[in-house]
Point group: C2
Chain length 661, copies 2
């Protein structure tokens, strides 16, 4: 796409909702289930607490949505939490948000894919042995699709998202209506009992509170992805902020309705689900051969006519689809965040430019690789992976709400001097109250999540975020140091040319490329020109000298002695001694090189030339001049313009905002 | 070491013997055992055939030693079988020998290390669970020692080799004397019975013959390493050939005496050893917990006073030592053969030069890696690994004896014309008869080995040799094609300089390195000089242009448009269009580069410059000029002459005989 065209693809609300909401809405597919899995550690005794926990999560969701509506209004540029926090709390805090979000993008892929596979297996239990394989195949497919550079079109997202929303809401409504009329649907697991795990039977006091907090932590996964819209404001049609805020509200309302509905229906239809199927009692067969279906699958089957009904398959299909789409949003968000971080010089600047395909490729491959590793390590178990999730989300929530509070404080201070508009000040006060409340609540949740999940796996996510934070700070410092070192203070002084040019042609054999290098060196009319060879083998060197004279080349050939059979050292020493004698000269070293057509041919050629070049570049006052000779194999295989434009562009390397450096 | 010093380290016979004989003599440690392991497949019934098989092996050994004495006399240059076969049967046959030997060097390491570990475990049975680990540690140690470049000193080899020879011969003599006096030593396994495997009980006719042939094939491992001396003739003191032939005879005699002695003693002391300890009957405990000792260990314990006697530990120590030394010879031979092959342009020519440490490193690492893989895959079981062995040895034996026959035929024909010396012709006829016999016998053995071992694992060795052969031929063809393409036919035409030099300085930012590149380009006084930048971002390009004028740089700056945000393509197109307008010009592209001190810094810089350079090299009529700017981090870390000389030389890259190309 040409740069101009990029600007003309703005989104109407009806397409923006599915694009940005697939991630937050998809968490409905596992949030309820995660709450139940913790509560049933104590058997069936604590299931009545589910409602209260779900209510708390719903309130939290509302608070966060309200808070982010403020962000969208105040920061329409799409920097999201990273921008808000960097602007208001400083770059170090901003970097914490960035590191957390990078980790959470990885977890979004891992958890969504694992949950998607879970729902596929719920529909087709025969696939249970291939859980990990299926998950890895999905990650590979997502990576492949994104590497091909297919931009997500609103339409591709719209259908599955709306079908998922519609399907779930109809299922919930039907189920609850049946309950109201006294014919409540019954889940397939309703008849099973659950044996409590030894430590979790008959809890009371603090122990019960801990169980409830753990269940609440797990339920908070319903909040993932909420902030996606705040990163996407620039993609909305005008008025951007207003449209984004509206979409955020619609998304929040839908998410709450779906989450509460699914949870209510799960309670009503008595879904009994547990981390270990062997704790189920009343199973028809052995627990080893029994595959528990997901909560979504169980309620869909109960409401829509059993696990072979069309309705059931439909719900499972759209659920799996939306989960894969949620993973796909991470494949878009991760490289985009990487590009913003590169622009701020926290990551290698090759990642900066938007149109640069290879840059995206690196990000996509990194994301796919880490997600695949996690899926493999945790055997694609949602319940295991979820422990590493949402820490980053809540870190980012908390810090951005704190940042917003500071933002409003600054606004108030600015208003004090110039404005007496009471209405305006009242609105700022209200906004600050909203964000303050958000900060306190999400901060509290962050502490709860950290406390309940740290030992269960969250330490790994924390560690990864810390490593990222330290690395990105180091990269930024490096770039800053280099910029300072290279800044031009006196252009005239830098532009003074060297007093003389001494040219040296390196000779190893008397083949065509060497003669070409001599001819090119002549064309420059250097102040002095000599040919250099290293006598690794004295006989060969003598032969070379004879041949040199025989060819009648009018350039003196110097044979450097090399008692230790080295090549590089004598040449470097020669160049240095030249510079030592006259430091204001520059030494131009001409190196004849073969250019070959196949990568493996490089193993057979140019090894010493490459090494020598890299050593020469460390020597001050030297220019290294490659004189290429294109072997016939090179022209067919590697003619850069002979390829189709697409394939060349795909081969294009990362580049730093401004061209080569 | 200086080249001159290399020539002054010639070996007297008493040091040459241990250096070259550790490999052939060490096979005494497993050859007898391998014969027994096959025969006991049929229980104890066929053990009486051991003597005949051992006798056949001993005769074979004598034949091969006699044959190689001829090789040593006729080809004193140390090329060994490879040279003999290449000279007499042509390069393709020579390459077969080379490929076979490369495979066998790998197997020497694997088998010797596995057998060494076996003998250590025989002395310290508690180490049995760590068999594979121990083997891998030994390979790693050997690789490390050889990477450090410690040359094997004759003295280091002398002690263990002579101690091993002495120890085994004393044990054999003592044991056989005791037998003669009626107090035969009794092995710990003498009382055990052996259950035949189902297919191998009561064999007769062809089936029995096959068993015997299989046992014979295994026994032929006693012949490995015999040809080492023929590769080492140049290392002997003068008269080289005579000394080498004498050493070969001494080595052959010793090997036969030891092998026959050990086999006789094993029979006399009734060593009952089997591939699967669970086929042993009369075991004190369960077969799972019983570790069979090696044949050497069993006879040493029987003769020298049990498995806790000093004599026993002594024999096990020297046996393990000589086996490790045998593996070490492969670590010397493999890179040496690689270097000879590289000299003949069958392998990348970086491997050619002797003094080049990194070249040896590559060979050493490759050898260690493949041997370690085999040891791991076959769980360091000698009995498994042995099936891949000796095919190469016998291929090389057969072909080199055939080559010698041809050599003598040629001598005879030459003699016919000029010489009437009957004595001389008689000697040539005799030599031809010796080598002819050798060729027929080793050829027969090769067929037997191939037939009995192919399906048991030898196919892998055959496949590896074929792959090597094809690869080496391909490399040779490539080098030949390139040489032909690059040969100079008309030096004057090649030396005509281009008519004009067009210089272009690539600019991405206005930092010091760019100004230096401009200054250097000025110094060359090109016919035209311009600066180029690519407008990936229009705003940034405009800023750059303003700054350019502000700095007062007297070179025109051309801004190339890049609607697809590419960097490389607009520059390449610009260079090509320049050449299209005036094909006799040369375009000199100046690229400012940062030189950084740490490898990871390269991730942060120069990526686009590197890519661009590699693409430019494919464009005819272009010179690529790197103008390096040494960042402060580079001077400390990478000053090539600031390091200790040793560390610089270790870092020296592979180079082709003559210096850089």
């Amino acid at each position: 796409m040409r740069s101009e065209e990029l600007r003309e693809t703005l989104l109407p609300k009806r397409l923006a909702l599915p694009i940005f909401a697939s991630d937050p809405l998809s968490s409905v597919a596992y949030a309820t289930q995660e709450i139940l899995l913790v509560l049933t550690l104590g058997g069936l005794a604590y299931l009545h607490l589910t409602g209260w926990i779900a209510a708390a999560v719903a309130v939290l969701l509302a608070v966060v949505v309200l808070s982010y509506r403020q962000v969208v209004g105040a920061y329409p540029s799409g920097g999201g939490s990273f921008e808000v926090v960097t602007t208001n709390l400083g770059p170090s805090a901003g970097l914490v948000v960035a590191a957390s979000l990078l980790v959470d993008y990885v977890m979004t892929v891992a958890v969504s894919v694992a949950s998607g596979v879970d729902n596929i297996i719920s529909a087709l239990p025969g696939l249970a042995p291939y859980r990990v394989l299926l998950a890895l195949v999905f990650v590979a497919l997502l990576a492949a699709v994104n590497l091909r550079g297919v931009r997500e079109s609103g339409r591709a997202f719209a259908a599955p998202t709306y079908l998922f929303i519609g399907g779930i809401l109809i299922t919930v409504a039907t189920g609850l209506l049946r309950y109201a009329f006294g014919t409540a649907p019954r889940a397939e697991s309703a008849a099973f009992g659950i044996t409590p795990t030894p430590g979790d039977a008959q809890l009371a006091g603090l122990a019960l509170l801990m169980l409830v907090l753990r269940a609440f932590s797990q339920g908070c996964t319903a909040l993932t992805g909420v902030e996606a819209i705040s990163n996407g404001v620039p993609a909305f049609r005008r008025p951007k902020s207003r449209n984004a805020a509206t979409t955020l509200a619609v998304m929040g309302g839908t998410a709450i309705a779906m989450f509460v509905g699914v949870t209510a229906l799960a309670l009503v239809s008595e879904v009994h689900i547990t981390q270990d199927p062997c704790r189920l009692t009343g199973l028809p067969g052995s627990c080893g051969s029994y595959t528990q279906r997901t909560v979504i699958a169980q309620i869909a089957a109960a409401v829509l006519g059993g696990e072979h009904s069309i309705g059931f398959y439909f719900i499972q299909t759209v659920t799996a689809l939306i989960l894969v789409l949620a993973a796909n949003t991470a494949f878009n968000g991760f490289p985009l965040l990487g590009s913003i971080l590169a622009q701020h010089r926290y990551l290698p600047h090759q990642l900066h430019n938007r149109g640069d395909r290879l840059a995206f490729s690196n990000g996509i491959l990194a994301l796919a690789l880490v997600a695949a590793l996690l899926l493999y390590a945790y055997q694609a178990q949602v319940n295991q992976l979820i422990h590493l999730y949402i820490l980053g989300v809540f870190t980012s929530f908390t810090l951005s709400q704190l940042g917003m509070v500071r933002h409003w404080n600054r606004q108030l201070r600015a208003a004090e001097g110039s404005l007496t508009d009471r209405e305006g000040r009242r609105r700022i006060h209200l906004a600050r109250a909203v964000n303050g409340t958000g900060a306190v609540i999400t901060g509290l949740v962050l502490l709860i999540v950290l406390a309940t999940k740290f030992l269960e796996g969250a330490w790994l996510a924390v560690l990864a975020a810390i490593v990222l934070w330290v690395t990105m700070r180091g990269i930024r410092r490096h770039y800053d140091a280099v910029s300072e070192e290279l800044a031009v203070t006196d252009p005239r002084a830098e532009l003074v040319p060297p007093s003389r040019v001494i040219a040296m042609v390196l000779v190893s054999s008397l083949l065509k490329p060497t003669l070409r290098a001599v001819a090119y060196a002549h064309a420059f009319h250097p102040d002095r020109l000599e040919a250099l060879t290293v006598a690794v083998d004295r006989e060969e060197a003598a032969q070379l000298r004879d041949q040199w004279e025989e060819f009648g080349i009018d350039v003196p050939l110097t044979v450097l002695d090399s008692p230790y059979r080295e090549v590089t050292r004598p040449i470097i020493e020669r160049v240095r001694s030249e510079r030592r004698d006259s430091p204001r000269d520059v030494v131009a070293v001409f190196i004849p090189e073969y250019v070959v057509g196949h990568w493996w041919e490089n193993v057979l050629h140019n090894q010493s030339a490459l090494w020598l070049k890299s050593r020469l570049l460390f020597t001050p006052g030297v220019m290294v001049i490659s004189v290429p000779w294109q072997l016939s194999s090179s022209s067919a295989a590697n003619h850069p313009l002979a390829r189709a434009p697409g394939s060349v562009r795909r081969g294009e390397p990362p580049h730093s905002g401004p061209p080569p450096s």
